[in-house]
Symmetry: C2
Subunit: 377 residues, 2 copies
C-alpha cells in the first residue's frame, strides 16, 4: 500500500478526541472501510456523501461535528479539494443574473410540507432569539423564540403604524405578516422561491402585504424601512457593494435598514463545498470586515448585535421537529435525503455551538440618527 489512508484518518480524528468505532457518543462508527480514502481524496463533499450513503454514523452527531470543527479537521481534509472552488470564485460571479433563482429551486422549493413541520408555526427559516429581550422573558418554545425575534426586529427599526416596509428575501412571509398584524404596517416581501411567493399570496388574507417573485436588484421604489433576514448569505462577496447601493437607493432618508445574517469568522470567497452542492448552491458567509467595507460611504452602522449561539438552539429545535415528523414525511423523501438533512442541520448547529460562526443583526442608517440611535437588548 502506497499510503495508509486509515492510519492518516485515525490520526486526524484522534487529534480531535474521536476514536474509530469507539464507545463515546461522539465517536465515529465506520461501516465501510473505503471511507478513509474517499474522504482524504475528496474532502468534505466526499465525507458528507459518505454519510448520505450510510458508510458511517455517530450516536451524537452534533458533538462529533463540534470536535471535528474545533480541531479544524474540515480545513485539514479540504486543502486539495477546495482549490477548484476557490478558483471558480475568482473567475465567476455565481450569484449573477440567471443563477440568482437557482437556490430558490434547489432549496426552498423542495416542499412546503417539510418546512411546515420543521419550523415554527409562522415558518420562520432564520435564527430565533431565546434570550430575554427588554421585558420579554426567555422563550420556552420555538414558536415563542421566533415571535420574540420578530418583535425585536420591529422595535430595533422603530416601526410605526402606516410605515411601508420592504423585506428582501421574505421566505414564507413570517416577518411581514407579523409586522403587519402587530404593528399595523404595510409590507412588500420579495423572494426567489416561486413556492414561497405562491403560498404567501394565497394565504395573506386581508393583511396589507404583498409577495413578489423578484430579485433585489429589480426593486425600484422607496420604503420607510428595509429588513433582510437570512438572505445575505446568498448575495456573494462580489455583490455586497451593489447590494448596499440598492438598499440605500430604496430607503428613505431617515429610514433604518436591519440586516440579519450568519457571519463568518474570516473573510472568505466561497462556502463549504458540501453545503454548496447539496444545501445552498452559491451561498457564502460574509465576514464583519466585508460587510463594514461594503457599507462605507453609504451607511452609518448604528448597532451590531451578535447572537450566534441562538442558532445552535434554533437548529436543534428544527432537528427535533424533523425527527418527529419523519414518519409522516418519509413517503416523499428517500433515506439518502433524510441523512443529508440530518448532516446539514447538525453540522450547521456545531458551527454555532463551537462559536465559530456568528449570527448578526445589524442596524444601518443613511445619515446617522440625529441625537444617536439607541440600541436595544
Amino acid at each position: 500500500m502506497l499510503f495508509d489512508f486509515k492510519k492518516k484518518a485515525a490520526s486526524l480524528l484522534e487529534s480531535a478526541g474521536i476514536s474509530i468505532n469507539g464507545s463515546e457518543p461522539w465517536d465515529i462508527q465506520v461501516h465501510n472501510e473505503e471511507l478513509y480514502e474517499r474522504t482524504l481524496r475528496g474532502g468534505t463533499v466526499a465525507f458528507g456523501e459518505s454519510y448520505m450513503d450510510g458508510w458511517w454514523d455517530a450516536e451524537d452527531l452534533e458533538r462529533f461535528f463540534e470536535k471535528v470543527l474545533t480541531a479544524n479537521l474540515d480545513a485539514k481534509i479540504q486543502t486539495l479539494g477546495l482549490l477548484p472552488y476557490y478558483l471558480k470564485s475568482l473567475i465567476t460571479n455565481p450569484q449573477k443574473g440567471s443563477r440568482t433563482y437557482a437556490v430558490g429551486e434547489t432549496h426552498y422549493d423542495i416542499g412546503n410540507d417539510l418546512y411546515r413541520r420543521m419550523l415554527d408555526r409562522r415558518m420562520t427559516y432564520t435564527c430565533a432569539y431565546w434570550e430575554p429581550f427588554q421585558e420579554l422573558p426567555a422563550a420556552k418554545t420555538l414558536d415563542e423564540a421566533q415571535e420574540h425575534k420578530l418583535e425585536m426586529i420591529c422595535r430595533k427599526i422603530g416601526l410605526k403604524k402606516g410605515d411601508r416596509v420592504l423585506d428582501i428575501g421574505c421566505g414564507w412571509g413570517s416577518f411581514i405578516r407579523y409586522a403587519a398584524e402587530k404593528h399595523g404596517v404595510e409590507c412588500v416581501g420579495i423572494s426567489v422561491s416561486k413556492e414561497q411567493v405562491r403560498h404567501g399570496n394565497e394565504t395573506r388574507g386581508d393583511l396589507p402585504i404583498e409577495f413578489r417573485y423578484q430579485d433585489y436588484r429589480e426593486v425600484n421604489e422607496t420604503f420607510d424601512h428595509i429588513v433582510s433576514l437570512g438572505m445575505f448569505e446568498h448575495v456573494g462577496v462580489k455583490n455586497y457593494k451593489h447590494y448596499m447601493e440598492v438598499v440605500h437607493q430604496c430607503l428613505k432618508e431617515d429610514g433604518l435598514f436591519l440586516l440579519q445574517t450568519i457571519g463568518s469568522p474570516v473573510s472568505r470567497r466561497s462556502t463549504d463545498p458540501w453545503i454548496d452542492k447539496y444545501i445552498f448552491p452559491n451561498s457564502m458567509l460574509p465576514s464583519m470586515a466585508q460587510i463594514a467595507k461594503a457599507a462605507e460611504k453609504l451607511f452609518v452602522i448604528e448597532d451590531w448585535h451578535n447572537f450566534g449561539y441562538q442558532y445552535y438552539l434554533t437548529l436543534m429545535a428544527w432537528y427535533e421537529n424533523f425527527l418527529r415528523a419523519w414518519p409522516e414525511l418519509k413517503g416523499h423523501y428517500d433515506e439518502r435525503f433524510y441523512r443529508m438533512w440530518v448532516f446539514y442541520l447538525l453540522s450547521s448547529a456545531a458551527t454555532f455551538s463551537t462559536r465559530i460562526n456568528q449570527v448578526w443583526q445589524i442596524v444601518f442608517s443613511k445619515e446617522g440618527v440625529k441625537g444617536g440611535y439607541k440600541s436595544l437588548r
Copy 2:
C-alpha cells in the same frame, strides 16, 4: 487677479449655508482678508492656524463646523494639501518605536492643571455615557456620565473580585481606580505619558493598582481581562494586527477584551493634518472594517456598541469647563493656545453631532464565550 480666492471661498461656504460676515450665529466673521488664499492654498492646517491667529471667528463655532462637515468642505479644501500626508502614511510607520512616546509629550504632558479643570473629577479623558444603562438613569453631570461609562465597562467584561486587569493607555487611571475601588480587582495601567504615570503612582494610595511608563508592545504577562479606552486612535493602521496579537497573547483563554475607540466612517490611512500637527501627532481613526480585519483569526467579536453622539455631549461639557476655568488657567497659556484648544474641542464635537464619526465599545473573546455572550445595554 489670476484667481479670486474670496469668490471661491464664498461659494464653498454658501454651499454649506454659511455667509461671510453674515448675521446667523454660525456665519463666519472674517477679520483678515488674506484668510481665503491662505486656506485654499494650505487646507485645514492653514484654516485652523488662521483661527489660532485670530483671523476669523464664529459666534456658534460648533454649528459652523457642523455645516462645514456636512457639506464636506474639509475634504474639498484638502485635495492638494493632503497628498503629502497620504504619501507619508504609505512610506513611514509613524507609530513605530521611538515615535510612540511623542503624543505623550505633545498632548498629555501639557499640564495636569488644564485636564483637572476640564475633565470630570476622576479625570477621564474619553467619551462619557449619558444615556440610561441597565438600571442606571440618564446622567445629569459629567461626573455621573463618566462613572456610568466606567461601570458599564466593568459589567460588560463581567469583572469579579480578585481579577487582574490590564488597561492599555490608562490615562490618569480613571478606569483602573474605579475598577479597583468598586469591583475589588487588581489593575496594571500603562501609559506613554510620564506625567500621567507619575501622578498616578503618587496618588494611588492603598489601591492594588500600578502605573507603568510602557508601550503596549512591551507587556509580557497575562491578565484576566484587558481594556483599552481611547488609546487605539494612536496605534496606526499598520500596527492594528500586531496590536491585536499582543492583546491576544496577554489575555487568558476565557478573558474578555474591551476596546473603546473613536471610529471613522471610512477606511483611511491618515488623520486630519491640523489635528496631526497640533493635537494628536501620528493619530489615526480606525474604521470598522480595519478593526474587524485585524481581529480575524484572533478574536470573536462578541459585541459592538456604537454611541458616537455621546461624545458630542462629552466634548461640549469639556468645552464649558474649559471656558469656566480659563480665567485661572490663562497665566500658563497664551491666547493662541486658547484658540487652538477651542478649535480642537468644537471641531471634534461637530464630527459627532453630525454623526460622521462614531464611538465604539467592542467586546472581544478568544474562543467565543461558551453558551454565548450577553450584550448589555
